[in-house]
Structure formats: C-alpha cells, structure tokens
C-alpha cells in the first residue's frame, strides 16, 4: 500500500530543504469525494496532499503548463519541480522527456504505485447507487467509499476505470522515490475494450455507423485536448481561425494561415479534429485515458487511441513511454516496417 504519510513527509522535506520549487499533487476537492490537482509551494501544505482512488488526473499536464509559463516569462528554473506520478503519469513524463520538452533533472518524480487496483470510474460507481459519496480509499484489492449510510466496500475490479483494468504498468518505473510496491496483477487483457468493440462491429458499414454517430455528438469543448499532456502544441490545427499571435507574426502570416477545420461542430469537422488528434498521439499516447474520462458527451476516444497503440506495439514493437533513451515513434523507423500495403 502506498503510504500517504510517507508521501506527505517526502513532499514536506523537499519543500523545506528547498530542493524543489513546488510539488504537483492531489488534494481533497470541494465537490464530494473527488480529489483535485494542486500545486503546493510551502512545506506546511504537504499535509493537504491525498492519494486515493479518485486521483484520476494525469498531472504531467501541469509540467507542460509549467514549462510553457517559464518559456513565456523567459525564465530558467533553478530547481526541479516535484510531481506525484502514477504509472501512466510517469509514462507521460517519459514521452515528454523523449521529446525534449524538459530534462530528467528538471523534474523530481514522487512515484506512487497503483499496486493491484487503480482509479475508480465514476460512471461505473454511479450504477451502484450509493448516492452522495464523501470519500474513497484503497483497501487491498478493494475500494472503500464513505456514504451517508456508512462505509461501502467494493472489489476494485468492479468499478475500476477501463484504462486501469487494462493497464500493463501500474507502477512508475521512472521515479526519484516511489511509494507502494510493484505488484503482479491479474486484470483484464490489454485492449479488452477495443477487442470487444471490434467483435461487435465487424463490417466497415457497422463501424462507420458507430463512429459517425460518435463524431456527430462532439460539442467541441476541447476538454480531450486540454486534459492531454501530449497535446502541448502552441497552436492546434483547430485553432487555425484564431491562432497564436506572437509579436513577430506578420499580417501576411495571419492572413494566409490555412484553415484546416472550421469552428462549427459538424460531423466532418469534428472528425477532422479527432482523427488528426489520434494520429498526432500515435506512439505517444500512454493510455492514461483522461480524454475518455473527461468527455462530457462520452465519446469513446480511448478506442481511437488504443487502436493505434495496438498497431504501434504489435506491428512496430514500440512501447510508448517505456524509455527515455529510444527515439520517439514518429521520428524513427525500422527497415522491416510493414510495407505490404504499398503498391
């Protein structure tokens, strides 16, 4: 079991000794049981940190924000920033380092192991009808929820998020210090949700009908992009109507910027956005599943990403987020990459 007190102590020590600028972690939110991301800078704030089954957020996102802010203010950090990282968050940090977004010494990784469980899926949990929930905690292979009518103990596998059920590496391999053990687990097979989808939609027509309906529903809130640590582009292709303007952007550039995708949430434009995003994430997506979790209209975005992840792993033998030392997927190749589809 990851020891919360040990995590808090470590965070406190790092801040008190001035070894890090800040600690990115989780604290209890104000809206019921869910935790929320927090950045603390004072040692006494370490006591507010939490680690429970509602720490869904991929905090690597805030490392990106931090780098962007430093860049904008033309500053260089003199100390690393510490971050609480689950297995998936740590993989995201590895991809960012692979892409030279920051260096290993810029970040101090407070790893936390999900051990045999992971994060709760609030929608699955809602089906159990516990009503308003005050808090959630780990207990071995189970979760315990405190409700108005007392504690409820549930086998984690019943309410785990799909991404956690299918997780290969619930342990942050790259870390400075880690809380909790690397434990063997017997959970659903990798790509279980994808395989089930493929079994149910075998024909081109079935699949088109499904995805057409999904893309029609998108309201273009861009939460999937906003929550993704890999979507760090200063200017996304969907912003081509209103892009980032720097002092040296000329009127010429502004006038002639291509408009790839309109702002209207039409099926065609939505599809252009989601497909491009999926391809931009190929070999980079570490399946934290955050885009899927936050989508307010529940578009199963994870299916798109895991479909490409499976190709990346099985066809190209590439393991996203596994190592800083290998080149990123799209900037490398193998002589024996498949070419039989080419005429």
């Amino acid at each position: 079991m990851s020891n919360l007190e040990a995590l808090r102590d470590q965070a406190k020590k790092l801040l008190a000794k001035g070894e890090v600028r800040a600690v990115i972690g989780y604290r209890k939110g104000s809206r019921g049981m869910a935790a929320e991301p927090v950045v603390i800078t004072r040692p006494e704030e370490a006591a507010t940190l939490v680690w429970d089954p509602t720490c869904f957020h991929n905090l690597a996102l805030y490392l990106v924000e931090d780098q962007k802010r430093l860049g904008k203010e033309k500053q260089k950090a003199d100390k690393p920033i510490a971050i609480v990282a689950k297995g998936c968050d740590a993989r995201a940090i590895v991809v960012l380092m692979q892409e030279n977004y920051f260096k290993r010494e810029d970040v101090y990784i407070l790893g936390v192991s999900c051990e045999t469980t992971g994060m709760v899926d609030e929608r699955k949990l809602a089906c159990l009808g516990f009503g308003t929930l005050q808090s959630a905690s780990f207990r071995g292979d189970d979760f315990v929820f405190s409700t108005v009518s007392g504690e409820k103990r549930v086998a984690a596998s019943e309410v785990l998020a799909d991404r956690c059920l299918e997780c290969r590496a619930p342990f942050p391999k790259v870390h400075d210090v880690v809380f909790g053990a690397e434990k063997a687990r017997s959970l659903a097979s990798p790509f279980a949700a994808l395989l089930q989808f493929e079994k149910s939609k075998t024909s081109i027509a079935d699949r088109w009908e499904f995805w057409q309906h999904q893309f029609e529903r998108c309201i273009r809130c861009f939460a999937c992009r906003a929550v993704c640590p890999m979507c760090y582009c200063e200017e996304c292709i969907v912003d081509s109507t209103r892009f980032v303007v720097a002092p040296d952007t000329t009127a010429e550039e502004k006038a002639n910027r291509l408009r790839w995708i309109e702002r209207s949430a039409t099926q065609s434009d939505n599809m252009g956005y989601h497909l491009t995003r999926a391809l931009h994430l190929a070999g980079r997506c570490i399946d934290c599943g955050e885009c899927d979790r936050v989508c307010p209209v529940r578009i199963p975005l994870r299916l798109l990403n895991t479909r490409l992840e499976r190709e990346v792993r099985e066809t190209f033998g590439y393991d996203p987020g596994a190592s800083v030392d290998v080149a990123s997927f799209v900037s490398s190749f193998r002589d024996n990459d498949p070419g039989n589809f080419i005429r």
Binding site: P37, A223, V227, V245, P296, V297
Partner: protein
C-alpha cells in the same frame, strides 16, 4: 389549470400533441439527453438531469446566417437563411434550466432582438418537472434565487406524486397543451392537493450546497477584481470549454465565414458557440489579450454570472444547476470559488 396525470397516461398525452415535435430525456450513449419522442418510445422522466441543458433548442451550436455566392468581378449574391418556425415541446425540463431560458431571453430578446433566437423560442414549450430531491450533489438553485419547484421559464410544471403527476399550467401555451390532452387528465382531488403541497414543501426543504450571502455577492465581487485568489483558484484550470458549453445560460458566440468553394466564392456566414475560457477568445489581431491568463478568464466566467449580469439585468445569471461543477475535469467548483473570493474580501484577507 391544475390536473392529475396517471404516469401510465404520459404517452397518451404526448400522442395528442400532434401539432408539436415532442422531446424528452432519454438515456443514450451513456448519458441523459433530450431526444425526439417517437410514438413507440418510452418516455422516462426519472432522469436526474441531462448532461447538456436544453439550450440547443433556442441557441444551436451552429446557426447559418446567410450564404454568399460570388463570381469573380461580380457583386456577391447574399441569400439569408432563417430557421423555419417549429412547434416543439420539451418534457422533463428541470426548474434550473427553465430559469436558464429566461436568462437567455434577456440577452437575445431585449435590446437588438435576435430573430434566430426569437423564431426558435416562439414555438418552444417547456413542460417542466420539479425536483422532489436535488438531482445531484452540486445543485444549489435555492441560493441563487431559484427553487426546486420554480415554474419560471416553464410553460407547464409537473410534480411527481408517485404513480401520477400533478400538472399545472404556467403560461397560455402551457394551458393549450393541457387542453389538447383533455380527458387524459383528471381533476385533482383534495388528497392530491395535500400531497402536492407536502411534496413541494419537502422538495424545498432538502439541504443543498449554497452560495453564501447571495444578496451581497455582486457588490463584493466588484470589489474583488484584483483579488490574488483568482490566480490561486484558477491554477488547476485546463482551459477547456466544458463549464460554459454545458451551462444553461452561457451564450457567447463566434461568427465566421465558412467557404465551400473559393472560385466561384461560395460559402456561408455562420454563428457557432464560443467560450470565454479559450485563450484566443479575446485576443486582438495584434496579439494583445485583455484576458490572457487563466485567472482572468475564470474571473470573467464567475463575475459574468454573479456580478456583470446582475448589474445589467438585476438578476444573477447562474441558476444553480451544478453542471459546471460536476463535469469539470479538474474539480473547479464555482460555488467554492464565489464563496472563497467573497469571504476573503469581506474578511479583508
């Protein structure tokens, strides 16, 4: 007019509304949303609340204003496009969303009347359903001037009495809907009267989360423009559009020309939803941005709801539906933001 409707007769009533397109909450794709009701469909009003408010009925995500068609060297031909008037009834609208409609009316139906909104609004009837219990943990309608039994913005208000609904008309349009139903309804008995009274009292007495000292919030926020708390509270914000796109009263939009062909020039001028949380929302073409930080954009959203709208229209814009709280990916909680900023200001922190 007050009537009693057996739950088993709800669809019979719907069937009599032949002059209207009927919508009701349905569970599809893992969420509750408003769906067209087909004669064979089952209408389920036991939903908590829909993920998206019924805003789309009056203010769709995309509205085409006109098309243009221009052969090079000639004057463009402009063809105005306007929605066809439609008679629509939406069942199961919660009181917070009914009040949301009245807030949209203030924006689109008063100074500079928006004919697109008006046309869609004119043929629209809301058959509301009062909330016997808060629909979610983040409801706070009572502290922003609403109530779980409010009929504001609704044409008919229904209250669930177990095996039947208490149905009362609110507007003339609502009365017409009841009259169409005719004998499907029955006269309320004294017992029904007693029960609806008791149900509504119980509904209103359920505890909710709350905005503190609502009456002074607009004036306190006005003093809090430079509060350092805005930056602290906006820290986890990821700048997505969930809070505003799911809001029953957010109405910001963008207008763009969408070209289908460049030669001859053909396309349409289109209004789409826009969002004060996107960084480029207020960015000038020079790059200057009056609201360039997450903090300033959070402040804009909160102050628009709780201060600016109140200063302009005398009512709060927020109706307490709680969607922005429940669906925020990182737990930004408008209630907590308002309460923290205001209490810090009042206590001189």
């Amino acid at each position: 007019m007050e009537r009693i409707l057996d739950k088993g007769h709800l669809l019979d009533w719907v069937a009599t509304l032949t002059a209207w397109e009927v919508f009701a909450p349905g569970f599809q794709d893992g969420i509750w949303g408003y769906q067209p009701v087909s004669p064979s469909a089952e209408v389920r009003l036991e939903h908590s609340n829909t993920v998206q408010p019924p805003k789309n009925f009056t203010f769709p995500q995309r509205e085409v204003f006109f098309t243009y068609d221009q052969i090079k060297g000639e004057a463009p031909k402009i063809a105005p496009i306007h929605p066809k008037p439609k008679q629509r009834v939406v069942f199961g609208v919660r009181p917070c969303d009914g009040r949301g409609l009245t807030r949209m009316d203030r924006v689109f139906n008063e100074q500079f009347q928006d004919s697109y909104y008006q046309t869609r609004r004119a043929g629209l009837a809301y058959v509301g359903l009062s909330c016997n219990q808060p629909t979610g943990p983040n409801c706070f309608c009572k502290s922003v001037g609403g109530s779980p039994v409010s009929s504001e913005g609704l044409d008919v208000l229904m209250t669930d009495l177990g095996d039947r609904y208490w149905v009362s008309s609110v507007t003339d349009l609502g009365l017409a809907l009841l009259e169409v139903g005719g004998s499907i309804f029955s006269e309320p008995a004294q017992e029904d009267q007693n029960q609806v009274r008791a149900t509504r009292i119980a509904a209103v007495s359920h505890p909710q989360r709350a905005v503190q000292n609502t009456a002074v919030v607009p004036s306190v926020l006005k003093e809090s423009f430079s509060s350092p708390l805005w930056a602290a509270l906006a820290q986890p914000c990821i700048g997505c559009g969930i809070c505003t796109f799911l809001c029953p009263t957010c109405h910001c939009f963008d207008i763009n020309d969408e070209n289908a062909s460049s030669s001859p020039l053909r396309g349409s001028r289109v209004r789409t939803w826009d969002n004060c949380q996107f960084p480029d929302f207020t960015m000038h073409s020079s790059g200057h941005n009056p609201r360039g930080t997450l903090a300033s954009r959070l402040r804009q959203r909160v102050c628009h709801k709780f201060q600016y709208f109140h200063e302009n229209f005398g009512v709060l814009q927020c109706t307490g539906c709680g969607r922005c709280i429940s669906e925020c990916p990182v737990g930004i909680d408008i209630l907590s933001v308002v309460n923290q900023v205001c209490s810090a200001q009042v206590n001189g922190e």
